[in-house]
Symmetry: C2
Subunit: 249 residues, 2 copies
Amino acid sequence: MTLFKLTLAYDGTDFEGWQVQSAERSPRTVQGTLEKALHALGGDRLVRVSAAGRTDAGAHAEGQVVTFDLDREITAEELVRALNGLLPPDVRALEAALAPKGFHARRSATSKLYRYVLDTGPVQLPTRRLYAGHFRGDLDEGRVRGAAELFLGRRDFRSLAAAGGSVRTFVRDLTRSEVSFEGKTLVYRAEADGFLRQMVRNLVGGLVAAGSGTRSLAELKTALEACDRRRWPPPVEARGLTLVRVSYA
Amino acid sequence: MTLFKLTLAYDGTDFEGWQVQSAERSPRTVQGTLEKALHALGGDRLVRVSAAGRTDAGAHAEGQVVTFDLDREITAEELVRALNGLLPPDVRALEAALAPKGFHARRSATSKLYRYVLDTGPVQLPTRRLYAGHFRGDLDEGRVRGAAELFLGRRDFRSLAAAGGSVRTFVRDLTRSEVSFEGKTLVYRAEADGFLRQMVRNLVGGLVAAGSGTRSLAELKTALEACDRRRWPPPVEARGLTLVRVSYA
């Protein structure tokens, strides 16, 4: 058995998220699609993969990392080529490497970087509708930047965690919370040691609330510290979200 | 009757190009889709629209301009809103204005700007596969820039015109032929008083031939001056092409 670390990119548009779901319902998921390709490659044995981040339905990845054991003699280069022959066009293997014993895509990760792209203004360009969220209005750049700064640091992010899932702690260390404006498009980058369910979409929901004036920075700070998700503004849509990079020590 | 000038954006992925085709075959075209929406809006009368540029199947637009007569009292703002309620999500009306008598989307245009995006390297990100071409290799930046400069100026571009169509002259004035590199992505912008069939895709085909070394700059220059399309390298795919802007005096 060989333990592989694989970097993966996908277009989340036609997937119901990363994670394989119950046997009765079997929607198209990225995990299921990858496991099917590895099964075809590895022979009879079922291959289970672990991912660094379980992306939502509609969210994308440019640098998802997965680990799995493969019962087959194959080099990392051959694995990438073989997988790209088996995977559909909306999933691509970017690179592979042998992983050291005990390495795990999620548990060994030291940080993850997500990017969210949000178009503003009355009408969104059709060529952007699958890869950017849309806010039908204008955002105040200064207030958006002020909100992004509020989020920085190590704190309890319970106010930004969607229900469901099981985590031991809601404390995360947000080391990067960076806004840039490209014309009428807001690009937000968030990096942390880990993210809670829908956390990035909720962070951007906070930026929109601050930038559109529905919440003051002081109200947003109070809602963040309240540790109560009913206090937080609604999340933005998944389609603007991309898992960019996972870092390891 | 009121003459309108409408600026339109579309995602060309699911269209067989701009132009309405023969009655026997009725593929989904942008022109047909827009005319159907205008028909629903304008009552019984059939509305025919004229476009500044007839984009290829798979090519996109951020600033296509069309003109048409509408037999209905409606302001430009109402027209945009009503059309966006009738059009599918892959076509959006951006803005409308009353046009002066005799104004024509194509004949009145003084220049058009196209952008071509080409990803290079072994594997293309799935999120880019609908909006960027792909060259599986590396391109030499200096030679690509050298080729882009060769194209500039007023000349006979017959070597770069696809067969079919009827034009009086192959002479076009290319006033902008500009390359930028963003990581492993080449972005090319071409502006001219008009373009021949597949001309931008052929221009980029020339950049690829120069950058990959299959043609020297001298050979490319000879092929350009030969006025013979069989001498020119193959065009790149339509999916990387976007009509960005049409200018009027």
